[in-house]
Amino acid sequence: MSSPAFNSHGPLASTDAQVTDDLIATLGRPSLFHKTWVISLALVALWGAVCYLYQVKNGLAVTAMNDYFCWGVYIINFVFFIGISMAGTLISAMLRLTGAEWRRPITRMAEGITLFALMIAGPMIIIDMGRPDRFLHVLLYGRLQSPILWDVLSLTTYMAGSTIYLYLPLIPDMAILRDHSTNFSPWRRRLYTILALGWKGSPAQHHALERALSVMAVVIIPVAVSIHTVTAWIFGMTLRPGWHSTIIGPDFVVGALYSGIAAVIVAMAIFRKAFHLEDYLKLEHFKKLGLLLLAVGIAYLYFTVNNFAGSTYVTGTEERSLLQSIFGGTYAIQFWTMVIVGLLVPCLLLALPWTRTLAGIVFASVLINIGMWLMRFIIIVPTLSVPFMPTPVGKHLAYVPTFVEWSITFGGFAAFGLLYTLFSKVFPIISIWEIIEGRAVAAAVERKH
C-alpha cells in the first residue's frame, strides 16, 4: 500500500509542468484506432437513429411489446443507464466530502459517465413513448401525483446538477488549457477561453470554487438517491407482484452504486490504455475502487436475497408463478446468469487477493455491467408475464425483442460511448489542477513527517 496521502499523483520524480503536459497530451491528434473507434460508434448510433425514425413512422408495433408486455428493452435501458449514472456522484461527491485523496484522477471520468448516461436514459423514455410528439403534454398537463412526473423532475434536476458539478472543477483546467493555447486550434482556444470564465487562480477564486464544490457535493447526493428511488417507485407504485415491494427503492440505489462503480472501473481501464495514463491510474486506484465495489456487491447480494426470501416462503398465486418463471421457468437462464456472472463470480474475483489484479478487477466490472442489464430485465419483464387475470383463450405470452429494439439499444450504447469519447478529446479526462493540488498536499504531508 502506498502512503496515506497518495503521494504519487503522476510519474515519480516529475514536475507539475510535466504532469500538465502529460494530461494535455490526451487532447492531441487522435490515432488511427481512435478515429476508427469514433466512426464505428457513430455508425452504430446512426443506425439506431434510423431505426428510431422507422419506429416513429410505423409506431411501436415494430417492437415485440404487446398489451401484456407493455414495457420492454427501452425501459430496461432506461433503468440501466439511470443506474450507471450513479457513478459520478458516488466517486466524486462522496470521496470529495470524505477527503479521499485517491479520488483525484477518477472524479472527472466518473462525472462524465453520470452526465452521458443521463443523456441516454432521458431519450430512452421518449423512445418508449407511443406519442413522442406529445412530450410537452407532460409540462402542460403534468400531474404531480404520477411517479412519472417525479422521475421527470428528478431526472432534470439531476441532469442540471451533474452538469454544474462536472463544469465547476473544469474551470481551472479550462484556464490551464487557455494558457497553453499554442497547442490548440483557434476554435478550441475560443472554447477554452469562454469556459474558463476569466479564471486567474487567485486565492479568492479558489476559495469560491471550493465552497461551490462542497455545496454541490452535498446537494447532489440526495438528488442522486432520489432519482434511483423514484425510478424504482415507477414499479413500486403499482400492485404488480415483484414490483410492489417496500425495498425496491433502496434496492435500486444499491444496484445503481454497483453498476455505477463497475462502469467507472471499465472506463478507467479503457482511458488508461488508450491515453497511456498508467502513471496516473495506478493499480492502487483499481484496488481501492475494487474493494468499494466488493462491499456494494455484497450489499446488493443481500438485497437480492431479501427480494425473494419472503415470497419464496409464503406467497400468493401470482407471486408464485413469478418465482417459478424466474427460478426455474422462462426467465431462469437470465436470472441465474445474472446471479452467477453478475454477482457471485465478480464478488469472488474482487474478494480473493490473487484475483484482485488489474485484469481481475476490470473483468469483474465488465461482468457486473452485463449482469446488471440482465437484472433490469429480470425486474421488468417476468412481472409483466404474470397478469392477475387469465389471458383470453389462445393468447400466448412472450416477449422477444425485435431487430428494431436491439438496433435502438445498441445505438443508445454507441451514442453513450461516442459522447464520452468526444468529451475526452475536448476536455482533459483527468483533472489537471486537482492532480497538481494533490501533489502539493502530498508534499506538505511528507514535509511534516
Binding site: N58, G59, L60, A61, T63, M65, N66, D67, Y68, C70, W71, I125, D128, M129, G130, R131, R134, F135, H137, V138, L140, Y141, G142, R143, Q145, S146, P147, I148, L149, V152, I234, M237, T238, L239, R240, L384, P387, F388, M389, P390, T391, P392, V393
Partner: protein, 303 residues
Amino acid sequence: MANDRRDFLKRGLMTATAAVAGASAFKAIQAAAKPNVSLPVLMPGGMIGHVSPSAISSHTHMPPAADPTGRNGVPGRRWIMVIDLAKCDGCGKCTEACGKAHFIPPGRQWIPVLVMPGEGLSAPEYFPRPCFHCDNPPCTKVCPVNATYKTQDGTVLIDNERCIGCRFCIAACPYGARSFNWGPPEDPPEAAKRGYSPEWGYPRRIGTVEKCDFCPDHAAMGMLPHCSSGCPMGAIYFGDQNEDAVTNSGGETLRLSKLLRDRSAYRHLENLGTEPRVYYLPPANRQYPAPGETKADAKKGGA
C-alpha cells in the same frame, strides 16, 4: 332518508319507463317501411310526438356525447354493472356487440369472456371482463398527464387526444383491461363520422391507450351498454347506483341492493382495494354448462 329513497325509486321507475318507451319507439322507426304514415316518437319532456318517416334517415345511431368535454360525466349518476355468472354460457355475444359498436380491431377485446380456472375442487367459470371502472383506480393514479380520469358518474375514461402513450396505466391495471394502439389504427370509415369523444373512444389514434368505457353516451340516454344489450342470456345488468336499480337485455329491472345482497355478490380481487364498480354474482345453480362441461354433466348438477 325515507324521502330520499322514495325519490330514488320514483326516478328509477321513470327512467325504466323512459328507456322502454325509447327503445320501442326506436324499433318502430326502424321497422317502418310504409311512407305517408306518421310515427310516434318520444319527445323531450316525455311527450309523444308524430313525425313522417321521410324525416327520419336510417344511419347508424350516433347520439352526441353526454358531456361535450368528455371529462365530467353525468351529474347525479353512479353507473354500475352486475354480471350474473350463473347466466353466462360463454357465448361471447357481449364481446361481439361491443367490438362492433366500437369498431374494435380483430384480436382486441374490451370485454373478453375469460375462462376462470376453478378454485381448488370447484369448477371453472366463464367470466366476462369489462373495465371495472374502479372507485380507487390504480390506472388514473399513475397517469402523468390526466389523460385517463374518473368522471362524477363513476366511469373511468381515456382521452386519446391527451394520452402520451407511456403505458404506465396498462402496467398498473391489475385486470388487463387496457389495450394499446401499437400501430396505425385500422378504423373503418364510419368510425370517423361521429367525431371523437372519450365517451366512445373512436376514431382511434396511434400510440394511445383504449379500453371499455361503460358506454356513457348510451347510459346518459337511459340505454344499456352494447355488451349488456347484446347478451342473449340477460347476464349483464347495468344501472345507476343512486337509483338502486339495474336492468338487463331482457328488460328485467331489479333492485340493486337486494340483488347484491341476496345473490352474495362479490367484486373480483376485492383484496387489491381498487373498489370496482362491476359486481359479479357467483354461478350458483348454473343454468348452462361450465367451461369443459357437457350439457349432460350440467343437467346432473355436475355430479
